[in-house]
């Protein structure tokens, strides 16, 4: 019996010891898994973006893009994030929504721009989505929802258009998990504070969303994708208090309304087609 016990102990130690020691080797670097993942992510992002562009008109007018790019740049530069790696796209969709795609693409619906009462509110949403990108939530969510096998199949271009469309729907209309949303909110507030943008606007935006939910909920995609807006707004206010910043407005009210008007004009043009 003692012999059996000694052998069993030795075998267990050998097994777990070997596993532990091998685990110290950085196989992910050796097999270049990070690089392969990034490459796949880029392919996947382009594929999904094409699907978005096929079903919606994308605004390419420089003066409109420049406004959103300016917000993105301000947030990125002040937080040490490479802004050139993030591409912003404005789609003419009436839903109040914005979402990040693999490959660091940020899609903003014109409905969201229309809904925001100030540039700071839009900046809050942008900061939140950048945080999702920085924490690699987008790919994690995709792998969780559709599985790695499907993600590889998609990035290899082996999947049909319907699957790509379903993936766009998934990324634009389903929630990240609660932990990821909280993490993105916390980082978003931090990014805004570092960029001297008052996070209070983000809280106001979320409070307004939660109050208007019952009246016209179908249009408010952000509510479906980001539940408990009122709780999140309260949390943002708490986080705001621990940040140090000197609020510097992005633009005045008149400029913001002018910007909204130019977007509205572009959306109106869509109906002519």
């Amino acid at each position: 019996m003692k012999k059996v016990f000694t052998h069993a102990l030795f075998l267990s130690v050998s097994f777990f010891g070997m596993w532990y020691l091998l685990g110290l080797i950085d196989f992910r670097s050796i097999f270049e898994i990070e690089e392969l993942t990034k490459e796949n992510e880029q392919k996947l992002g382009t594929l999904i973006l094409d699907a978005v562009a096929k079903s919606n008109k994308i605004i390419t007018q420089d003066s409109i893009i420049a406004v959103v790019e300016g917000m993105k740049k301000r947030i990125c530069v002040t937080n040490g994030i490479s802004d050139s790696t993030i591409t912003v796209h404005i789609a003419t969709v009436n839903d109040v929504n914005a979402f990040a795609l693999p490959g660091r693409h940020l899609v903003i619906y014109s409905g969201l721009i229309e809904y925001c009462k100030s540039s700071e509110e839009l900046a809050g949403v942008i900061a939140h989505e950048i945080a999702h990108m920085e924490h690699d939530h987008v790919m994690k969510k995709m792998v969780k929802e559709v599985g790695l096998a499907m993600v590889i199949s998609l990035s290899g271009g082996e999947s049909g258009g319907e699957i790509v469309r379903q993936t766009v729907k998934l990324l634009s209309s389903t929630a990240f998990d609660r932990e990821q949303e909280s993490e993105a909110d916390a980082s978003g507030v931090h990014y805004l504070a570092k960029a001297d943008i008052d996070p209070q606007a983000s809280a106001d935006f979320l409070f307004r969303l939660s109050h208007e939910k019952e009246s016209i909920s179908n249009q408010f995609e952000l509510l479906n994708t980001h539940p408990n807006s009122a709780d999140r707004a309260a949390e943002i206010i708490k986080l705001r208090k621990i940040e140090t910043f000197t609020s510097r407005p992005i633009s005045d009210s008149t400029s913001w309304k002018k910007f909204q008007e130019s977007v509205r004009l572009r959306v109106g043009e869509k109906d002519l087609f």
Partner: protein, 143 residues
């Protein structure tokens, strides 16, 4: 890894063949190319039950083959489950996962070699006792 102590009697040709087959049963999944580790275990359990009333030499080797599968079965199932959770779930390919897969491959290769060796030796009528599983079999199969 294996020892060749003398058995209490010399097995005849029929017993040697039966005992050898018990080891071949445990590599059956590899032979038919199934990735499901449970097949090896089921095969050895069925073979053991079918030979419950066989001679001591045959029962002893059926049990040794079964015990060795009992060891590899849980580690292989964990490996398959982990792989499926990466392919269809939220897990990612981590250093820990790769290390685990290499470890179970090494242990499975060692077990495969020992199994084939035991099958060849028992077919010749030689008694083979594996490290750990031999003493354990002695405890479970009384003469």
């Amino acid at each position: 890894m294996t020892e060749h102590p003398s058995f209490m009697y010399t097995p005849n040709e029929y017993e040697a063949e039966k005992a050898s087959n018990s080891y071949l049963m445990s590599v059956i999944a590899v032979m038919i190319g199934l990735p499901l580790p449970v097949i090896n275990l089921i095969a050895t359990v069925i073979f053991f039950l079918a030979n419950k009333r066989a001679t001591h030499f045959v029962r002893w080797h059926c049990m040794q083959a079964l015990l060795s599968q009992g060891f590899t079965f849980p580690i292989n199932v964990a490996g398959v489950y982990w792989t499926l959770s990466i392919l269809f779930g939220a897990n990612i390919i981590s250093n820990s996962y790769i290390a685990y897969i290499i470890t179970i491959i090494v242990f499975n290769i060692a077990e495969f070699i020992a199994t084939v060796y035991a099958a060849v030796q028992t077919r010749k009528g030689n008694h083979v006792e594996w490290w750990l599983f031999g003493p354990l079999t002695h405890l479970m199969i009384k003469s």
